[in-house]
Amino acid sequence: MGEDVENKEERETEDVGRSESEPGTVTTRIRARFGDASVSTGNAVGCESVIAERDALLPFMTFLKDDPELSFDYLVDVTAVDRLRLDEEIRFAVVYQLYSYKHNHRFSVSVPVPEADPRIGSVVSVWPGANWLEREVYDMYGIVFEGHPDLRRILMPDDFGSYPLRKDYPLHGKGERDNFVF
């Protein structure tokens, strides 16, 4: 923090090469358990992050929570990003923010989910607090959380029909408002 303008240029070059930098302690621990190819480094600023596979997500998340050296017992947030206009092959990414009360560290997991098959395992069985957060992602992006106890829309009306936070959904809507009767 607090560098001069000269250091800023240095930082920008750092950004580009960040994916090749040394993996953090959490990533090292994950690789020791699931193999080197299991996760790749993410690009979150100021926090360790990985990109994980959606297959076998549940054992992976359970490990993050139960491993005594990680013990991510607090699921901070579940959200998604529609990467339609980013240079990414797979359209969606579900992003989990984790925190450990024991070790006082944060961690971010990003899981790519393809458009053709927008399904991902639910982590409600690991952290019950994921319930509404996953419902919101389903509501906004149409990503289905398999094994979720009560996957319904949460903010939009039940018969809304579209997924408003997708990038191809227009800001002004598709005229749904005209159909509401007050």
Binding site: M1, G2, E3, K8, R11, E12, D15, G42, N43, A44, V45, G46, C47, S49, D73, Y74, L75, V76, D77, T79, V81, D82, R85, L86, V95, Q97, Y101, N104, R106, S108, W127, P128, G129, N131, W132, L133, E136, M140, R152, I154, L155, M156, P157, D158, D159, P164, L165, Y169, L171, V181
Partner: protein, 420 residues
């Protein structure tokens, strides 16, 4: 079947109950049946538009199904079409009881993404205003919680002190509610000259009101009967469900972002984190009361020796130059143009960031994905109310109908933040 909108929303729940009722009819010996009661969306105790379908067994609540979204405004979608500084105005409208905390939390995230260090003066002003907002938020929360279960006086005492706080916000920001006071890398403008004095006065007024409320409620037999042992949340459940803020601390978990992951220089302030023991409505009330006293301490320290100097960071690519310089210097004029014209403004590098601050209700997080353009590619708000409220069906089960408002008040659910 009649399909009014209300019926449609509650359809899933009604279906279950209807089946159950059929089975009751088949066995006439069965003495009771459950009753469905709609709580809201228009109800004075919901503090906004909030709808719950309650399943009642006599006067006991057998289940509750909240229906959200009446105040859904699409802030996250809108944010993708607004520049980084324009989004500040949207954050006002989330938790409208403490808009300054939202302003500060949001710009904190953008500054983390852009790696901007704010000035010491700006830091102290932000801390003071964040804590003053916390005072206002807690006063209103306690006041309305008491009002909802029948204690009108505490509400009026709280509102009187809150008025003084809002006069201060008006003097600083120009508005009482839609403050929009922070900017990426700094503030809208410097505080008025008598800021420290006003802050101290409003703190005094708040503490006076707090002591009055304390005398009215803390040992009040009726208040304790209505709140003790109601809506008990164990520390294990609080952690598993992701509760934060006073709700988490009332359950006995010693965690506050201001202490555990200090930002804005909170590590330099002398204050304590109150912890509850039982995790019930009463403990949440006590934790909020003590937080008011602790926040008052922080405000006094923050304005005690307010550093002099500019409030905006020296980052010409992110912060507006001084107006006097714009008139005189060519570079400043160009930067001013580049900051304000459409399609221009602060531009963070490509990347994503999650930054959390301790808002009055708990962890207020902003997750921003930047594609290197002038607008955020994706902006996500992690609202504390949303996560805290998701525990409501669990907390209310087995309690009396009249406890619904007691628990709701203690969670301090703000619909604007809940639905965004």
């Amino acid at each position: 079947m009649n399909t009014t909108p209300i019926d449609k929303l509650a359809e899933t729940d009604l279906e279950e109950i209807r089946n159950e009722r059929v089975s009751f009819e088949r066995t006439p010996d069965m003495p009771t049946e459950h009753m469905i009661l709609n709580f809201g969306p228009q109800h004075p105790a919901t503090h906004g538009t909030l709808h719950m379908v309650l399943e009642l067994d006599g006067e006991k609540v057998a289940g509750a199904t909240p229906h959200l979204g009446y105040l859904h405004t699409g802030f996250e979608k809108l944010g993708e079409y607004r520049s980084y500084n324009q989004f500040v105005t949207l954050t006002d409208r989330m938790n409208y009881l403490s808009p300054l905390c939202n302003n500060i939390g949001y710009t904190h995230a953008v500054e983390k993404l852009m790696d901007i260090e704010i000035t010491p003066r700006c830091r102290n002003i932000r801390v003071a205003l964040a804590e003053l907002s916390r005072l206002a938020d807690h006063l209103l929360c306690i006041g309305t919680a008491a009002l909802d279960i029948g204690a009108f006086t505490a509400f009026l005492y709280g509102f009187r002190a809150r008025e003084v706080l809002y006069d201060l916000f008006e003097a600083v920001c120009g508005t009482r509610l839609t403050t929009s006071y922070t900017r990426v890398g700094g503030l809208l403008r410097d505080v008025p000259e008598n800021f420290a004095e006003m802050a101290r006065e409003s703190v005094e007024e708040t503490l006076r009101a707090t002591e009055e409320i304390d005398r009215l409620l803390t040992h009040n037999r009726i208040w304790r009967d209505r709140t003790e042992g109601v809506g008990v949340l164990s520390s294990e459940d609080a952690v598993a469900w992701g509760a934060t803020g006073p709700v988490l601390r009332a359950s006995g978990v010693d965690w506050d972002i201001r202490k555990n992951e200090p930002y804005l220089g909170y590590e330099a302030y002398d204050f304590d984190i109150p912890i509850g023991r039982n995790g019930d409505v009463y403990d949440r009330y006590l934790v909020r009361m003590e937080e008011i006293r602790q926040s008052a301490k922080i405000v006094r320290q923050a304005v005690e020796d307010l550093p002099s100097g500019p409030v905006n960071a020296d980052e010409e690519h992110a912060v507006l130059p001084e107006k006097s310089e714009v008139y005189e210097s060519m570079e400043s004029l160009i930067y001013h143009f580049k900051m304000t014209m459409e399609g221009h403004g602060p531009t963070p590098p490509v990347g994503e960031v999650y930054a959390a601050t301790e808002a009055p209700n708990g962890e207020l997080g902003f997750f921003i994905v930047s594609d290197g353009s002038r607008e955020p590619y994706r902006i996500r708000v992690r609202p504390p109310s949303f996560v805290n409220f998701s525990m409501f069906p669990m907390l209310i089960r087995g309690h009396m109908l009249s406890d619904v408002v007691a628990i709701l008040g203690s969670l301090n659910v703000i619909a604007g933040e809940l639905d965004r």
